[in-house]
């Protein structure tokens, strides 16, 4: 929250993305970032560990890694970008939700269409033979 207009902003009930309600206290702010750093580091270590171990059933490793990545992104959003579910954050969260919708459509749509196309394509060597 801006130190310049604390009054007008508290009356408004909205905060800027990245701002925190109680960031006037520098010690509390640092503590929040430290919690985020510890959680994110832990999730990263787990990701790196399971990628090369036999702890997780091998075919499910990509899914496990995706889940861990999404969890870590959530940690970053909450502790570094201060996205909360509070009413003062609705605008920021809605913009993010729309962005995520587009990202999902883009990534899963592309994968879906392209795997089906690859599936329906004639194998390359057969095409080559037909051209001869």
């Amino acid at each position: 929250m801006s130190a310049a207009h604390p009054e007008s902003e508290s009356r408004l009930g909205d905060i800027a993305p990245g701002d925190e309600k109680t960031s006037d206290d520098i010690g509390r702010g640092v503590r929040g970032y430290l919690i985020g750093l510890v959680l994110a580091t832990g999730l990263s270590i787990v990701s790196f560990y399971i990628a090369r171990s036999t702890l997780v059933w091998a075919p499910s490793i990509p899914i496990a890694l995706s889940v861990l990545a999404i969890a870590q992104m959530g940690v970053h959003l909450v502790f570094f970008l201060h996205m909360t579910s509070g009413p003062d954050n609705v605008n920021n969260l809605l913009a993010l939700a729309f962005g995520l919708l587009i990202v999902m459509l883009l990534v899963f749509g592309s994968l879906w269409i392209m795997t089906h196309m690859n599936h329906n394509m004639m194998p390359m060597d057969k095409i080559m033979r037909m051209q001869r």
Binding site: T41, I102, S110
Partner: protein, 216 residues
Amino acid sequence: MSTAATLNAPAGGRGHGHAAGLTEEEEHGASKRIVVAYGFWIFLISDIIVFAAFFATYAVLTDSTAGGPAGRDLFDLRMVAIETACLLVSSFTCGVAGLGAQAKNGRVFQIAMAVTFVLGAAFLTIEMREFAEMIEKGAGPSRSGFLSAFFALIGCHGLHVTAGMLWLLTMMAQVAAKGYRDDILRRILCFNLFWHTLDIIWVGLFSLVYLVGVAV
């Protein structure tokens, strides 16, 4: 709902603001810090969508190695772990710099920004060495569809980090020259958002490009 009222502030303010005049409109409008940061947030989300397009291209082309090397032949996870550590800690120091700027504490701000810069530079150095080694091995971007998509995706992130570091130096210089004016504080907030977003994108990249590439 207060949030809806804020979104519609210009239109709504004109509607019933006749009696009170301009002060009414000012009362209902968001502060400049919120408006600027929100606008920049929208830009960042569109940037994430750009990365999603690059990532979708990569995901579609991972198996199109054209007989060349695949991910598991090329990626060095130790280096990726160091890169990840650099960006994670730099995200923390960047947040501390933001807090220092809010508290108008010059020493905290400048030292935390300098550490952020050094960590960003270390990240970029490792990434450039990785690229150079791959190109030397004959696994450059023109080798296969997979490698074209890989270099485009990771290179796009690297370019963003480079731009972020230039911005970081600009902010250090502006604070030194002009002090903690409101507009400078807004720029520091936007820089913070930018740097944290780059870190979030890197989380996706190291998990789904490097780790999945090696595991599969």
